[in-house]
């Protein structure tokens, strides 16, 4: 088998302001403490095969966007490596680096803020291909029109400004802009969160079609589990900077093993479940500045044991394609039973 498209191995990313001279002096003199560190990613490993759609799920602030940016080569890692087709992207230089950059594109969460309000669609989509020599100056319009048609936008709207489009249409402009540089890998960072269901459906359909037509590889970041379930081949669940579970989509939904995943699945809002009694989660969401010892989830986990408070669970294979990081059941979590874990059970144990 060839190397996977993307191989993230043991990546850690801390955000920490670099202390300047004054700060170092003060620290030396004991007048100041080192600036706080945000542990956005903490030893994350992940691989994505060519043509695969991977869903990335996790709560707000757990490091999903950070991971996306690192994979796209826009943020350097603190430690660990990201390789693309077997080559460490940090070692690429010059033309190779540029090619890698262009081959990986991100579609941002907020379609309005990711489009420059003062540029016409033709410029938004056409600028990069023209700069990179993918289209001649005089062919740019034609290229852009082609792309617009491809994402289902009326090419007649080529001279409009972003504010003259609807949310779904804007999202497609973002997609067209990314496709314009012929990427083979797309990162969709919560690209559909702010859209209402009918528009959401348009965008998802488009992504699926593009995947089929262009054999794109997708990293699909979302907190909407029904969409993730619909679109992805495999799901990765993150919690506070760590991957806690990864498995093929069907397996996750049928037999999740990590307590956090199970809680997530339990709480998916479904229209066929009426008059549901929501249950309240107790326990504060820990902060990435000061993550808890051991398993990050233990303060909220109903099944937490003493071991969970001190020892970090490693990602262990429960079956060939299903990995879990939980001390339960020999390090593989507890399979989802019909009864499952109710959120109500997720009370702090201490």
């Amino acid at each position: 088998m060839t190397a996977p498209m993307i191989e993230v191995s043991n990546v850690t990313r801390h955000f920490r302001r670099k202390p300047d001279l004054a700060e170092r002096l003060a620290m030396r003199a004991g007048l100041a403490s080192p600036p706080p560190t945000v542990h956005a990613l903490d030893g994350v490993s992940l691989s994505i095969d060519r043509g695969e759609v991977v869903g990335l799920v996790g709560e707000s602030g757990c490091g999903k966007s950070t991971l996306g940016r690192i994979v796209a080569g826009m943020l350097p890692v603190t430690s660990g490596t990201v390789s693309r087709e077997g080559r460490d992207i940090a070692t690429l230089r010059g033309a190779e680096e540029r090619a890698m950059r262009l081959a990986t594109q991100i579609i941002f969460q907020d379609p309005m803020s990711s489009l420059n309000p003062r540029k016409k669609v033709v410029d938004i989509i056409g600028e990069a291909p023209r700069l990179h020599g993918l289209a001649e100056r005089r062919d740019v319009r034609a290229t852009v029109e082609g792309l617009m048609a491809q994402v289902g936008l009326d090419p007649a709207m080529i001279d409009r400004y972003p504010h003259q489009f609807s949310g779904g249409q804007r999202q497609r402009i973002g997609i067209a802009r990314a496709l314009a540089v012929n990427p083979d890998f797309l990162i969709c960072d919560e690209s559909i969160a702010a859209l209402d269901v009918s528009i959401q459906a348009q965008v998802i359909n488009l992504l699926v079609k593009l995947r089929q037509d262009l054999s794109l590889t997708l990293l699909f970041i979302s907190h909407d589990l029904s969409v993730v379930r619909y679109i992805s081949d495999r799901v990765v669940i993150m919690y506070l900077g760590r991957v806690v579970e990864t498995a093929p989509t069907d397996r996750i939904f049928a037999a999740a093993r990590h307590p956090y995943t199970q809680a997530l699945l339990e709480e998916i809002p479904r229209i066929d479940r009426r008059g549901h009694r929501f249950s309240s989660v107790k326990g504060e969401i820990p902060s990435p500045v000061n993550p808890p010892q051991g398993c990050h989830f233990h303060p909220r986990c109903p099944l937490a044991m003493d071991r969970c408070r001190v020892e970090r669970p490693v990602l262990t294979k429960a079956s060939p394609d299903h990995a879990v990081a939980c001390h339960l059941d020999g390090g593989t979590g507890r399979p989802l039973t019909n009864a499952g874990v109710k959120t109500g059970d997720l009370t702090p144990t201490s």
């Binding site: 796209a72 826009m74 540029r98 950059r101 262009l102 594109q105 991100i106 941002f108 969460q109 907020d110 803020s113 990711s114 489009l115 420059n116 309000p117 003062r118 540029k119 016409k120 600028e127 990069a128 700069l131 990179h132 001279d159 409009r160 400004y161 504010h163 003259q164 489009f165 609807s166 949310g167 249409q169 973002g174 802009r177 540089v181």
Partner: protein, 295 residues
């Protein structure tokens, strides 16, 4: 979502101006002033900069007097016998040139440095901002004097002095806005698409920093004109044979108490009218360009 026909910037501004009668009048006056300044040599009864054309015998005549040469001085003459009307038209020309050029140049320099500081951050940011501190601490007079010494007297030198002092304001203002804009996802998207940094700064971020720039710009144009007047008042401004509005006011100010009011009141009124209209138009422009305020 509105899917109306895109409206060009120019027509949007024009329509915005026309909806406010006050702004319309102000804009018309601005245009009239600018046109008469530009065509001053054609309109003015006299070339006040030509020493052979002005006559000493006609010095300090009140408005509507008839001079030695038979010419009627509608607004009187100054201490050298210059026709005030002509001097004001030419002076307006100089003042506009000084105000606008200094304003625009300061804007360019300040904007470029402010953008750079915001986008690059780190030591560049610190360096530029401390430099701004330094500039803001320097008295305008000292800068003007130094420039006067090193480069001599002239309109261009005054402009240089004003730019020196004013760019710092723009740099500060732009940096503040650009910091916010640079954090938006469109800038990140542009980087992701491999667009060079300078292009992101000037092509993507800058256009979104324009509204505050316009406000500061209009105020700075006015204050450049006033600052030039103050420099002239202190004797380090323009060459005295080519008076600007400010210099006329400063000169006339000397004889105010002697009752020769016309030498500074008329240029003062003209300056007031100019600044007034520029500001009204500027205010309106800001409203038009702010989607929240445009109605």
């Amino acid at each position: 979502m509105s899917l109306l026909r895109p409206e060009s910037m120019a027509s949007r501004i024009l329509r915005g101006l026309l909806t406010s009668p006050k702004a319309t009048i102000a804009a018309v006056i601005c245009v009239v002033l600018v046109v008469s300044a530009v065509f001053a040599p054609l309109i003015a009864p006299q070339n006040p900069y030509d020493l052979t054309e002005i006559d000493f015998f006609d010095a300090k005549l009140p408005p509507m007097s008839e001079g030695y040469t038979g010419m009627t001085y509608v607004l009187g003459t100054d201490g050298q016998g210059r026709d005030m009307l002509s001097a004001m038209l030419y002076g307006l020309r100089t003042s506009l040139a000084v105000g606008v050029t200094a304003g625009v140049l300061a804007m360019l320099v300040g904007t470029a440095l402010g953008l750079l500081a915001a986008y690059r951050g780190g030591w560049i940011d610190t360096f530029v901002m401390r430099f701004v501190d330094l500039m803001l601490g320097f008295p305008t007079i000292l800068v003007a004097l130094m420039i006067l010494v090193v480069f001599g007297q002239g309109v261009d030198k005054v402009i240089l002095a004003l730019v020196f002092v004013q760019w710092a304001y723009f740099a500060r203002a732009v940096r503040a806005t650009a910091l916010i804009e640079a954090g938006k996802e469109y800038a990140e998207a542009a980087r992701c698409l491999g667009i060079p940094a300078w292009r992101i700064m000037f092509g993507h971020i800058l256009p979104n920093c324009l509204p505050p720039l316009i406000v500061i710009g209009t105020i700075q144009v006015a204050s450049a004109i006033a600052a030039e007047a103050t420099l002239s008042f202190l004797g380090i401004g323009l060459p005295i044979t080519e008076p600007s509005l400010g210099l006329l006011i400063a000169n006339g100010y000397q004889v105010m108490l002697a009752g020769l009011y016309w030498m500074s009141v008329y240029p003062g009124l003209l300056l007031l009218a100019l600044v007034f209209c520029v500001n009204i138009v500027g205010d309106r422009l800001r409203e038009i360009l702010n989607p929240r305020l445009a109605q």
